[in-house]
Structure formats: structure tokens, C-alpha cells
Symmetry: C4
Subunit: 328 residues, 4 copies
């Protein structure tokens, strides 16, 4: 079916293949290297827009209905309910509103509204029966509508459960990272808490630093460095956790000044993974700190409120509190 030229794949030894295989870009690829914008947004999404593709893929309906906020979701449910009733009311009127028999005199609000209320009673399967279909056509429509009601019930039930049961963890990151003294050196630090009462276990964090560097050929390109952390995993996560990258001689941050970070468009990419104890679900969070979200020579204040001695008191509002401190 295709006319391949009779070429030969003469495999050669390559100096570059092995080297290229070691490149570490987390999947951002080479194209993303040229942009001077954030790689990871604060909500964990990426700075990439999609064009074209199929309608359903772009709509991604289930995903949207699951991830939208509650007011939006309830708004859409209400809108759907009103539209569906309006739509069916129109059909009943076309089929003859006089065939919706009324046990009482309800003419005062007109045929459309009678049909609208009948529709709502059919769609929700409440079916008082004080309005009821009497013609063949209106009976058929009502039979179809009540089946649609049944399916809508089912759909909304599934969506509500999907929304509730979605793996989620309200892990909060401190708004800023800091450079602070750490033991006998300095460290780059940020702080996380679990804002909910769900227990999270086996929490793991990976941090990758990304910055523009000058190539030998004079071009700039984006390079990625995994940052060594004091601790990458905790079994339990009952309190706050300050993650520390100690700036030793091995650190790619060794010798950096604030200006260096700004010029090289440095961004710290964070990937957090944990197991929700209540639902045994793995949860993932992405976050990023850019060079202008880092406080130089600040340290985090303790989040514990020691007024009561009986129990440890973690004050969630103190997550972002820092104070100035001299660097080592």
C-alpha cells in the first residue's frame, strides 16, 4: 500500500544517543523551552492550550461536571431542569394543551405553564395526577419524558457521587518559598499542610528546578535539575511539613544570587503524591514557585499554638507566616 524507497537502516555507533537519553525534562519537551512563562500554574495546570480535536474530546463533559465548583454545578443542574421543562412544555402545547386534563380549574395560568408544571411533575416522576395526559400523543410524550426523568436521576446521582468520591486532598502550600539558614548551611524551603481532617499517609515529594542556561552555541535553553531534599517521604502527615533543599556544594543553587534566579527565569516544580487513608486513593498535587515568589533570608514561624498544653494545636492560618533571619 505504500512505496517505500529501498533504503537501508545502517545502524551506526552514536555519541549523542546515550547523552540525549539522560536529559530530564519531566515531559515538557523542547518546545516549552523557548517560552518565558510559568511552566506549572498555581492550580497545577500547564501553560499549554489545545486546538482542534474532536468536539467530545474538547468538551470532556464528565471531567468538567466533576471538577467544576459546586455553585457552577448546581447552576447547570437547575438550568438543565428549567430548559428541559420548557422544552417539553412547548411540545405538549404543540400536541394540544387541552389534552392535559386538569382535575381543577387551572386555566388562570395559561396552557404553557400548565404544560410546564405537568412536565416538571413528569420529569421528577412526582406525578401528582391533578394534571394528566388524555390524548395518545401527549401520553406518548409523557411516557418518553418520564424515561428521560429516570435517566436524569441516574445521571445526577452518578455525577454527585463522582464529585464526592473524587480523590482529593486539600494540601496547602505556603504562598512563598524561602531561603533560610538550615543547620550549618542554608536551605531552600517551603511548607505544606493538610487542611482537612482526612489522614494522608505515605506522602512523597519531588522537586525539580528549571532554569534557562546558556548553551555553548550562544543559545539559551531550559534545563531541569532534580533537587535533593532533606526528606522526600513521611509515613504520617499529622502536622505541617517543611521541605528543605540544603544548599551544599552539590546543589545547583550553590553560589546563586537573587539576580541569578531572576535572569535565568528559575522555577521550582513540585510534585506531591499521597495516599488518602479514608478512601485508599492516591492523590496527586502539582505546584510551582517562581523566582519572584521566594523570600530571601526569611524563615517560617512555627504553626503551633501552645496556649493549651493538653493537645497540640496546629493553627492553619499561620502557614504563610515568616520572619527575617540572617543567612549563614
Amino acid at each position: 500500500m505504500n512505496t517505500l524507497p529501498k533504503q537501508n537502516l545502517h545502524g551506526r555507533d552514536s555519541q549523542l544517543v546515550e547523552q540525549e537519553g539522560k536529559r530530564q525534562d519531566l515531559g515538557f519537551g523542547t518546545k516549552l523551552n523557548d517560552t518565558y512563562s510559568r511552566l506549572v500554574n498555581k492550580d497545577g495546570s500547564f501553560n499549554v492550550a489545545h486546538k482542534n480535536g474532536t468536539f467530545w474530546d474538547r468538551l470532556n463533559l464528565y471531567n468538567r461536571l466533576i471538577t467544576m465548583t459546586w455553585p457552577h454545578f448546581l447552576g447547570w443542574v437547575l438550568a438543565f431542569y428549567l430548559l428541559a421543562n420548557g422544552f417539553f412544555a412547548g411540545i405538549y402545547v404543540l400536541a394540544g394543551a387541552e389534552y392535559l386534563q386538569s382535575t381543577s380549574d387551572q386555566s388562570f395560568y395559561g396552557p404553557f405553564w400548565k404544560a410546564f408544571f405537568f412536565s416538571s411533575q413528569t420529569l421528577t416522576t412526582v406525578g401528582y395526577g391533578h394534571i394528566a395526559p388524555t390524548s395518545f400523543l401527549s401520553s406518548i410524550i409523557a411516557a418518553f419524558e418520564s424515561m428521560m426523568g429516570l435517566l436524569s436521576f441516574a445521571l445526577v446521582t452518578g455525577l454527585l457521587y463522582g464529585r464526592f468520591s473524587r480523590p482529593s486532598a486539600h494540601i496547602k502550600f505556603s504562598q512563598r518559598a524561602v531561603f533560610a539558614p538550615y543547620l550549618d548551611v542554608n536551605g531552600w524551603m517551603f511548607r505544606v499542610i493538610n487542611a482537612r481532617s482526612n489522614q494522608l499517609i505515605n506522602v512523597q515529594v519531588e522537586v525539580t528546578m528549571s532554569r534557562m542556561e546558556l548553551k555553548a552555541d550562544g543559545d539559551h535553553y531550559r534545563k531541569y535539575y532534580p533537587l535533593a531534599l532533606e526528606r522526600t517521604k513521611v509515613t504520617f502527615f499529622p502536622t505541617n511539613w517543611t521541605l528543605v533543599h540544603p544548599i551544599t556544594r552539590e546543589s545547583p543553587l550553590h553560589g546563586c544570587t537573587p539576580d541569578d534566579l531572576a535572569k535565568s527565569d528559575t522555577e521550582f516544580l513540585i510534585l506531591l503524591r499521597a495516599m488518602d487513608d479514608t478512601f485508599s486513593q492516591e492523590v496527586h498535587r502539582r505546584y510551582s514557585y517562581r523566582y519572584d515568589e521566594i523570600l530571601w533570608g526569611h524563615k517560617f514561624r512555627p504553626m503551633f499554638d501552645n496556649s493549651q498544653q493538653s493537645m497540640l494545636n496546629l493553627d492553619l492560618d499561620k502557614l504563610d507566616e515568616t520572619e527575617e533571619v540572617a543567612l549563614n
Copy 2:
């Protein structure tokens, strides 16, 4: 209960056991070696038909209802609804349609349709009551039918949720793989994108090449080679990803011509695994390229649309765009 002969399992040293244990066939087995047809279809299924087995296993009802397309699924729901109502309408007529009391004169559409509409009002539990059972028998049937309605509600709810929440990822593979220059050698390449807005993380790909080879005894048999990739895993997958098998001296493709691939019935089997970020579900995709789905001396065009500088624009419709290029 059985009369085993009094034989002895005299274990011996075997030259063949260890060697056989190293054979790598992904589970296709020896029987599949003899066929000259595709191993993995484009939709990820296998070229194997099942015969016999139990009725329920062959029906595999839940799996079918979950994986069929939406139009098929809704069609089956509608068909079930009509059939169930027709069935119960017949029973009500047999039990005496005159025992379905009507508050209005609905005789104009006959006893069957009266029973049909009553049935639909019972099955969906809408129950207007303008038709109601008056005999013991029709009341019993209606009580049973409304319970069936309850169970149907439940079933459809479960099915809808199952359909929506099923781990799925619209990962699209380029229709063709290519042989293109790669660094200082050539490479076998294909391209994947995530067609949806769901984030996928920890995407891993394995590629196995399968081809017929001539045995020492003159027979042909199918052999399997894992192909080394430039990169087998990315943490994030925001844009397109071109997977590259570099054709170095170690590659089983070393020295191959298009004719070689055709004669040996070469097929590239791909297994992709990723984690859906929204639902924390693992998703799997299988794909395969046969020798006649590979473009020789073509490379993929970039998928980025750089008209807008503010944000990266991935044009999903460019997935399959290639252009000719001279091989190294």
C-alpha cells in the same frame, strides 16, 4: 480415586529449561506464531476468537453495557423500556383492562395503549393515578412492576456511573510510524497526544517488535524483541510526545530495508500506561504498527501553532502531519 502408575519423577539437569525461560512472547504463546495476521488490532483487541464457554461468560453483560458506544447504550435503554412496557401492557390486558380504572374517558386509544401508558407510569414510578388498578390481580401486577421499576432505576444509575467513571484516556497515536533521522543516526518514531484536557502523569511506554524468523530447522517462527526507547517515561504529558527508538548497532532493526520488514511480517506492539490525575486511575492503551503503516524517510511536523506568543498552542489536527526527509 485415580490409579496413578507408580512412576518416578527422576529430575535431570536440563539445558533447555533455562533457555526457554528467557523466551519473551508477551503472552501470545506459540500458537499465535503461525498466523500471518495482525497480533494487536488498532483498538487494542487481539485476533483471537472464543468458542463455547458458559452463556453468561460469553454475554459478559456488564462489560458490554459499559464499553458500548453511547448511541448503542441509549438505544438499548429505550428498547428495554418499550419492551418492558409492552410486556406488562399485555399482562394487564390479560388480567382485564377494565380493572385499570380511568378518571377520564380514554377509551379512544383502546385497552392495550391504556395498559401501556399505565405500565410506563408504573415502571418510572411517575404514577399520575388518572389510570389506577382496581382489581386484586392488576394491583399485584402493578406492585411487582413498580418494584421492577425501582430495580431498573438502580441498574441504569449504576450503568451510567460505571460508563462515566471507567478509566479512560483519549490518547491518540499517529496513524503511521516513521523512519527519520535522529541525532547522528536514524530512528523509528511514532507520536502520541492526550486528546482530552485531563492531565495524565507518569506516562510509560513499552515497545516490542515482533517478526517471523527462520529457524535452524528451516521453519519460520515469530520472535519478539523489546525496543530500547530514547525515553520510556515522562512525569507530565502536557504536549505531544514523539517516541524514538534510535537505530544503533544494537538495534534489531539495524540494516533492515523496507522489504525485510514486509517479508518478516514485522509488527511493532505498543503498551502505554498512565495515571489519570483527576480520578487517580491507571489507564492502559495498546496499539500496534505493522510494516505497511510505517513511512520510510519521513519526519513529523511540529504540532505547535506559534501565531499566539502568549501561550503554547498544540494543534491536535497536526498529529499525523509528516514531511519527507533524507535518512542519515
Copy 3:
């Protein structure tokens, strides 16, 4: 609160601790060593009964309702429906059946059945209204019953979904294992198929042989040996899979006769683990072959039906077909 004696935990070097740590009993413990009955039943359960414990733990309601057969489940739903209606009918009669107003003359089937049908119309929320509560008391009961109906709906929906979505795989094991020639030695073999059309991937099998052995002190005790398999994992599982333990000099079966297996009460315990591709769920199966379920000098017949050349045809009914063969 407790009066511990002032003893000292003088830790010593122990010859036995390390040795004991190597014992491998899969968790059956020492007590199960004394019994001469099957360890693992054909359905994967264990030969252990539980006594006492709390009522709810013993009832284990959800688990039972999920794992019982469909006829049992539907029988319980129907029984619950009849009982609930009978119960509420009794209450309505006690509260005064005359307060269930009827729009038609339904006295011919008596107050209990009127109340029974009213109850069924309330519980399923069908609510025709041709029977309706008129007293305060019967209205209160009906309001409560309809809420119970709502909860029952919810319950049955959850149970149906739970039943359907439960990780399950119809993996069938051959009824008997065989001792057959394998390459240049013999092998202990059994065969598995996936009876359904769901794809299973990453199928892994572990086999442990358990038998009674004579201790130095003259007592018998049960010992466990992991058996090396030709292959322990396949990526895909489209056809049948014959698992082979080659009987080389290293095998614990080396030199065994059928009598040896019978005398030592040998049992082969099998643990199979796979990933269901459709739902991304891990599925587990346990199985066991006892010494009297093994055919000595038999081999499995192929399961492929080659009458049609276009596609491979796996005949599921041939799973258990064997034929005699001379051992090596």
C-alpha cells in the same frame, strides 16, 4: 495501673531467630499444620471457621449481599419488598384502614390488601393517589414510609453497582494438573484461561507446594516450598496459558512417586493476580490442586480449533482435555 515485675530483658544471641524468620508458611501458621484436610478450597476460601465475634462482623452484610449469587440477591430483594409492604400494611390497618381514602370502590379485597397496595405505591414512590391517607396518623406513617422507600432505592442502587463493579475475572483453572514431559525433562503443569472477553494484563502466578514432612524428632509437620515456574508473568493473556514447573534436580518434586505425594498429603497452592484492562482493577484468584487431582503421564490437548484459518479460535470447552503420554 499494672504491677509489672522488675525483670530485665537481657537480650541474647539467638541461633533460632534468624532460622525461624526464613520459614515460609504463607500465613497458614503452625496450627494449620496438624490438619489433614485441604488448605485452600476450590473457590479460594480457607478451611477455617470463625466463632463468636460481634454480630455485625459475623453478618458482614454488605460483603454477603455483594458476593451472593444473582438469584439469591433478587430473592432477598423481593422478600424484603414483600415483608416491608406487609409490615406497613399491618401498621396502616392498626392506624385505621378507613383513613386510606379510595377514589373507587375497592372494598372487595379487604382492608389489609388495600393497605398493602397503598404501602407498595408509597414505598416505590409510584403514588397513584387512587388510595391516599386522610388521617394525621396515616399521613405521618406514609411520609415515613416514602422516606424509607427513598433510602431503599438508594441502597439497592448502591448494591447493584457494587455487585457489577466488583473486581472479578472469570479465570478458569483446568480441573486437574498433570505430570507431562517438558522439553528434555518432565514438568508439573496446569492450564488457565480467561473465560470472559475482558482483557487481562500483567497476569502473575505464584505456586507453593505444601506437604507433610518427618521432623528429626519423629513428628510430622507441614512444609511449604515455592515452585519455580517456566514463566511467572505474561503481559497479555489472549489465549490459554499452560503453567509449567520443570522438574529438574532443584525441584522439591525430584524423585517423587504418586505414592509419595499421597502419603505426604501434598497440595499445590496457586495465587494468581492480574489487572482488568476495562476497569483498571487488580483481580486475585486462589486455587489449589491436591495430590489426587493430578494426572500422572498425561498432557493437555491444544485448545485451538483450526477449522477456520482467518482467526485463531480458542475452544473454551477443551480446557480439561488431556491425553496419555510417556514421561521422560
Copy 4:
């Protein structure tokens, strides 16, 4: 946006960084070191209270509704039902109770109760129709209420399913741990059983001992030691499992007396992980034994009831039975 001082991160070699990285505190952090209270409560929660944070995070509604006891849950459902009906009844009365048309004379229980019962019939979508809305306003309210009823159905369905399908295992720990002879040394032991009939597989246990120790600078601080166990994992868990930490010379308990444990506020933290076989869900349990919950010189009595020889009989009520024994 921030004015960073022009400091330089002069990375130095550090003696402390590597050492600190080895510290093992399971995530309790340094703050928890100062308290003389239990780290892990008997129900697996931690002794940490949260202050402030957002209202919804503190409420954590779904989690609460899923984890509360059944009587509490059903109580809330009933309370919600009564409140919702009361609320809507009030609105109907405000909108004019006379517009709820009654087919029978129900004036004897007053307009509020008529509205209340109408509301309950609307919310549950039972809709008898013997009370029905006749004004535009009451029809609109009823249309809205029936939609709320639909959503409530959906919500309760999801919650019930969430409650049932939540990964849970009734693993019971013996109320006390013991110091008992073990082989030729002593051991610290506790016992677990699976109280339900669900099978658990791949059960893994980790034990960490935590105690206060005197630093070189005279301060006390809390240290954590992982305890080596005779066995950390079993494949099957059909009977009871006694976990043993053998007190050899390597054990941190070597040479301890009961007084030592009390003075150093010793606590044994246990993390158990298993796979529920029925639902393929991972389940996690935390538990802890404090120094005053340990019996010195006691051993566990067997839990098997050997009265019936046909099958092993595990008596769950004997979990806590111990008897005195002389230590090695």
C-alpha cells in the same frame, strides 16, 4: 515585586545535613517530641488539633458523613427530611395553603400539616395527588421542591454507596502487647485477627518504637526505632497472627526493665496494610501500644477451639486471653 537583598548562597560542606537526613520520625516532626501524651490514639487518629482554616475544610462534610456511625447517619437523614419538609411547609403556608387543593376534606389537621404532608409527597416524588398545587406560586415551589427531592435521592444514594464501599477491614488488635519467651530468647508480641469473613491478602506490618531519650546537652527528645519482626508480611491471613519482635542483642529493647519503658514514655506505633480480596482495595490500620498496655511475662493462649476435628475453629473472643509465663 520583592526586593531581595543581593546575597549569595555560598554552599558549604556540611557535617550535619547527611546526618539529619537519616533521622526517622515517621512525620511526627520535632514539635511532637515535647509532649508526654500518646502519639497515636487507639482508633488510629493523632493527638493534633487543627485551628482556623476554611469553613468547608473544617467541616469536611463528605468525609464526616462517610465515617460517622450508622445510627448517627440515619439520624441526620431523618433530621434533614423533617427539617426540609417543615421548611417547605412553611413556604407553602406563606404562599397560601388554600392553593393546595385537596380531593378530600383534610381540614381537620390544619393548613401547616396539610402543607407538610404535601411537601413530603413532593420531596420523595411519591406524589399521590390527593393534595395538589393549584396556584402558579405553589406550583413553582412544588416544581423546585421535587427537583430538590431528586438531588436528595442522588445524594443519599451516593452517600450510602460511599459508606458501604469504603475500604474497611475489621482487623482487631489484642488489647495488650506482651513480653513472652520466644524460642531461646524473649520477644515483644501482639496479636491481630481479621474479625470479618472478607479475605485479606498480602498483609504487611511495620512497628516503630518511640521513646524519650537524654541528649548530650541534657535535654530530652523523642527518638524513633524501627523494630525488626520475625515476619513482616503474610500472603494469606485466615487465622490469628502473632507478631513477634525478638529481643536479641540488636534490639533497642535489650536490657530494658518495665521502669525504663515507663520513664522514657515508650510507645509502639503499628502500621498495618492489607489488600481486601473482595473489592481489591488497599486497607490501612494504625494502632499503638503504650508502656502501660504491655504485660510483662505473659503469653497469648491459643485461639483455636479443638472440640471439632473436622475444621479449624478460630474463637474470636479469645483474642485477649493471656497466661503468665516465666521469661527466658
